[in-house]
Symmetry: C2
Subunit: 742 residues, 2 copies
């Protein structure tokens, strides 16, 4: 068990500039700021995003998360030479995202074209103490000679979403000759975004302010003296009309900057570091592994799970790239409920609840979508943003070679998200016994999602089928009776009936329909070889050797050799589908069937989706396939952290980071639930001597520590907890040491 | 007399990147493409503009010329290192804008970080044979070793006007796996812009096409062999719904590229070079000077006068920066009629006529503006674009320190543009005797502009005053009886009466009002010292020593020391005002008065406007102030061509380039008109042994060649022409040699 280590970039590499900008994003769930360099590079994509601030650029476009005016960029000139690491010589270089403190730091020594050396220290953080605040600091020291320094920084609204400008400049000001302030309005969604920023310089000098071409800039000119550091601090604040009354955003951002600049960078950073320390003390998963990467990958994952989640506001949920980039336009998918929410549910259930409230708040829009598609209940959008309307574009990008546009199938057919949300509701309930939630939001969600499935099924000679869907495996479109979908739908309806009856919500018609549905719904059973058919036709399709494509997993290389239509007609999986089902419902089939299906489907899965690998790791771990489990886990950890310099340009793979946590807790610790009974049956990888993590369960705060031979359970607070280990129930009052046997 | 020399950039200098991008703009009046580097630099502003394609980004904005998707940028990687002159080493470098052929060429040898050398030749031109076409060519040769080359280029719609995106992507395609094609719509003005481009590569290889994030890109990968050049040619075409029917723009641009790519770069370039040769043969001003810069500055000026003028379309006029940048948002000012049109009038009168038609086509909008302001007739907008409405923003940019916005005075009070247009009408008539134009458009313009002045004047005890105006000198706002304005207004009304009577247009009421106006209008006479008061109060204001500001002319440095309001209350001129009047009406006052006023006002003029210096040169030359004239001329030539690396970032100073031509022809050759009598009284600078230029006059094509002692006149075509030299009339039938005496 080691300290939380930083994410390091050891050399300046332009090829990886956007990967590291993504990985080194700072944030607090309210906002995210990509870890772009302070100075500009043509290849570099800057980005600052506030959760919930979406806009449609034109009627041809869907809502996308708005790339806000930049607050961290600066232009530095030394002796009239623009500071860039492309020119001159980089003598020392180190960049660290300190996950432990939430600070991004870059130290370097640069020799300019004249041969003079300068030491630079760049620091930056997004506050965890005040969601609206960020700060940066740059220290420049001439090592060889005096030199003329010019530094320009401010608010740069030339930023856009790859050329799409969402913001109309409403107001640009310098307040009291100190605070730069600007307000922008999103062109269609009509949000106001107020930014304020103030710089302090040592040695003291007064900036010259200029506003031009959507840039408000403070310019500082000084002579650098040898070994006398020049220090610039910049404290900034962001408020939007989504947070507070539109009339207040200007004042709020200005006052915030006024107040915090009295503290100065270091003190503010220390406040944030203290918050991060509390986070790590509470939420860290500790791994003693021969391979240090395992611990680091988990630290990296939960750092990002924390900064991607707008825990402050139940009107918001988590985008598929968090707030780290513009991939998937900041939209919310099933990723949230199935991959991301569990981390919160088992470390801070109130956050998981908010993510469910987000869905509850948009039941009306989901009902409209169902109605529009001829169904009852709630059909939640495949992609959603602030309004809860379907944000999946109706048509995919044009095929530039043929000129054809295909309808996007996901919004039409990837309906399992409805059952995924219901699954998360039930999971939340059994993990918290939050009766108040369940009686109001929970039951409403369960009933209306169930109603959707009841209306969605079609009678085929007395047997109910769910036809023309897409399961999690998106390489198989428009199929009938997807195993994942049907079982999840059945679970959804079953749970709805159960909780309606539990709370005596009288709706006899519904219950009658639900029970008929459950009696008649076709649930694909394992065939003679024990294989659960992924859908009605999957197992009849031809197979091909996937080795070549599996070697380049994540790249969708198969689509270079085959059309989508051709892939659809072969036994080729993009990602876990039946295996996903086996992960979520571990007790549905015998261990033998689970193992057979894991093997069968793993063979046919390319893992082109980042949602896949860690799920296979979990099921493999549970099956005792230790090597496969650990290999899958380690490969999953490389989805963002691997050597590919372009893997994460558009943002982190948020769900995969959630899945890394799932792999540790539900795979290697092998926690499962039998209804409301916690079961733990650890399956540590050989490399691991210990795994320790916190776990919130039914109002108690537990810490599990697992070695190859023992399970330690410490209850830090809350009522007595019962845990089942190797078919035996243990009641934990305070702490307990339970021996483990294979 | 020498060949037309290229504009050279001898070393790669990032500080001047946008100046040279402006100066090295290619164009043909239909479109302009900034001479940006093919590869990207963070400081570099790319730009492609089509005359007439304006848009308003939001209701907070005025129309601006739209920066269109880029067609010339490319990303080159060699052995996975991005080609940029900021890295590696530049061993040889030379960039030439060949004014003679219209081709931009860059030759360089670059050593990459590994130490391998590569030779690059970049070529580019905008067609003068087909307004819609442009082409580029890049040749890359490995000099030391084989290397892996990747080159990406296409259509890049991430371009914007400093962050303002005007274009909505309507259509992106690759036609026949060869032609990249995209169509965009301006968001408010609703123009369609279709772009097509095709690349051909040698050695042959097929590009991979990708469309993403508003970029349609062809990617070429090849291995460079030592000393075997890799050549890429790119032929592109642009059509807009302002040119042809909206339904036709796609097909037109695609067919154009299909057709022209059969020719190939070199042949197309030769066609354009032939057109440019004809241009130079016909229109060049030839100067034999000790200082080669004089000839070069004139060549540079008329190159730009040619490419800035949309001679193909009378619905368009010339922006204050031509099509070289976004300064003044592409708007049309009085610059066109007074500074730019004369070059066309005396080399190709049909073009000058079109520029007047542009005003004629917008008389309705000018009438509306007059009406709205309580006047009669036509009040032409101070700034106009495609629609002919006033485009001057109502309020200036906010004062970021005080938060105040001032009304922009120009649109409210800089009314002399009305008389300037009338002046150009009369000038056009006497230079062409185009009766058809004069009877229809000319007389309409004269009458309605005259009507404006009649309604604009106010009776002050029997004397008519024109109060609360701004003259050409914008450092003196809201003054009464500006000499320039009053004399020009009187001329306007006088000419209207004259031509109405000439053509028997019966409007007795108008004529009566006009004659009363002429009788009563106050025309400021020289005071006892011979000084014509610039306005009612100017000569009573305090004076300060302007030496300091004159040394930094063009920088508006005075406004760092004094507020605009303070400057307004002193005898400080931004630019020629009374001197401007003396230039346009050389016979209004005695030579002695002219000289006195030149001296007086020159002393009080900072020349912070680029419109000023060359006008002083003209009047000084006419006064025999040879040294002052030549100094002013040479300084005027440096407005764009001088050493300041930031002088022209936002575009060329179009009017000043026109004024350089005026200085040669109306200053040093000293051509004036006594009504329709051409008068020439050369005043060559001592440095010049010869000055020769073409001159279209009343249907005849003349060539004047002036030495210090002789004037040669050659009439190449047209009827007999009478010329007055030293008070003597010469009738030119064919050619004539006239001796000159001081």
């Amino acid at each position: 068990m080691s300290e939380v280590k930083p994410l390091k970039e050891k050399r300046f590499d332009l090829q990886a500039v956007n990967k590291y900008a993504t990985l080194m994003t700072l944030g607090n769930g309210y906002m995210g700021i990509r870890g772009s360099f302070d100075e500009n590079y043509t290849e570099q994509t800057r980005g600052m995003y506030v959760a919930g601030i979406y806009n449609r650029f034109s009627s041809n476009d869907v809502n996308e998360i708005v790339n806000l005016p930049d607050l961290v960029g600066m232009k530095i000139e030394i002796d009239e030479e623009v500071f860039t690491l492309q020119a001159g010589e980089v003598i020392e270089y180190e960049r660290n995202l300190d996950l432990f403190t939430g600070e991004l730091e870059r130290k370097l020594v640069w020799k300019n074209k004249k041969g003079h050396r300068f030491r630079f220290l760049f620091q930056r953080f997004v506050s965890k103490a005040d969601l609206h605040t960020l700060a940066s600091k740059v220290t420049i020291t001439a090592l060889d000679t005096t030199a003329a320094l010019t530094l320009k920084t401010g608010i740069d609204a030339q930023q856009s979403n790859f050329g799409k400008q969402h913001l109309i400049e409403e107001n640009v000001r310098v307040i009291d000759k100190r605070i730069m302030h600007a307000t922008y309005r999103t062109s269609e969604s009509n949000h106001l975004v107020a930014l304020s920023t103030m710089i302090n310089v040592s040695p003291v000098s007064a900036p010259v302010f200029v506003a031009k071409n959507r840039q408000l800039t403070a310019s500082i000119s000084q002579n650098l003296q040898v070994n006398q550091p020049f220090v610039l601090e910049k404290i900034s604040a962001v408020y939007t009309s989504n947070d507070i009354d539109a009339k207040e955003v200007d004042v709020a951002s200005i006052q915030s900057v006024e107040q915090y600049s009295l503290f100065g960078y270091d003190q503010l950073r220390n406040q944030t570091a203290a918050k991060w320390k509390a986070f790590w003390d509470h939420k860290r998963v500790k791994i003693s592994s021969i391979d240090e990467m395992d611990q680091f990958a988990l630290d990296f994952s939960i750092y990002h799970l924390e900064i991607m989640t707008p825990a402050h506001d139940a009107r918001l949920s988590v985008g598929a790239k968090g707030l780290t980039g513009e991939g998937y336009k900041g939209h919310v998918f099933w990723d949230t409920e199935i991959f991301i929410a569990p981390f919160h549910l088992y470390t801070d259930p109130a956050v998981a609840k908010k993510l469910l409230i987000y869905r509850y708040l948009h039941m009306e829009e989901a009902k409209s979508k169902a109605l529009k598609n001829g169904y009852e209940g709630t059909l939640f959008p495949w992609e959603s943003a602030l309004t809860g309307h379907e944000e999946t574009p109706e048509f995919a990008a044009i095929n530039i070679l043929t000129g054809n546009r295909q309808k996007v199938a996901s919004a039409i057919a990837e309906h399992h998200i409805v059952a995924d949300i219901a699954f998360a509701v039930v999971q939340y309930y059994y993990s918290t016994f939050d009766e108040a939630f369940m009686q109001k939001e929970g039951i409403a969600l369960l009933k209306e999602t169930a109603l959707f499935w009841i209306s969605r099924a079609s009678d085929e000679g007395g047997r109910l089928s769910i036809i023309d869907v897409i399961g999690p495996d998106e390489y198989t479109e428009h199929i009938d009776n997807n195993a994942y979908t049907n079982y999840m739908a059945a679970n959804n309806v079953q749970q709805a009936v159960f909780f309606l009856e539990k709370y005596n919500h009288e709706d006899l018609t519904f219950v009658k329909r639900a029970k008929e549905f459950l009696q008649s719904l076709y649930l694909p059973a394992p065939n003679e070889e024990g294989i659960i058919p992924q859908d009605d036709t999957f197992l009849t399709k031809p197979e091909i050797d996937l080795t070549k494509y599996k070697q380049k997993q994540g790249s969708q290389g198969i689509l270079l050799d085959y059309s989508r239509a051709e892939v659809n007609e072969m036994q080729i999986l993009k990602q876990a589908d039946v295996v996903m089902l086996l992960y979520l419902m571990p007790n549905l089939f015998s261990a033998e069937v689970v193992k057979k299906n894991l093997q069968y489907y793993e063979e046919h899965t390319i893992h082109d989706s980042s949602l896949s690998k860690a799920i296979h790791a979990i099921v493999a771990a549970r099956c005792g396939e230790h090597e496969m489990a650990y290999r899958c886990f380690q490969e999953a950890c490389l989805i963002d952290l691997g050597p590919n310099p372009k893997s994460s340009d558009e943002g982190v793979h948020a769900a995969s980071l959630g899945a890394n946590w799932l792999a540790a807790v539900f795979g290697f610790a092998n926690i499962t639930m039998e209804q409301n009974q916690l079961v733990i049956s650890p399956k540590l990888p050989k490399n691991w001597s210990e795994l320790s993590f916190p776990f919130e369960w039914q109002g108690s705060s537990l810490v599990f520590t697992i070695s190859q031979s023992e399970l330690s359970v410490v209850k830090k607070s809350g009522p007595e907890v019962s845990i089942k280990v190797a078919r035996q129930i243990y009641n934990i009052q305070d702490r307990m040491l339970i021996p483990l046997h294979e």
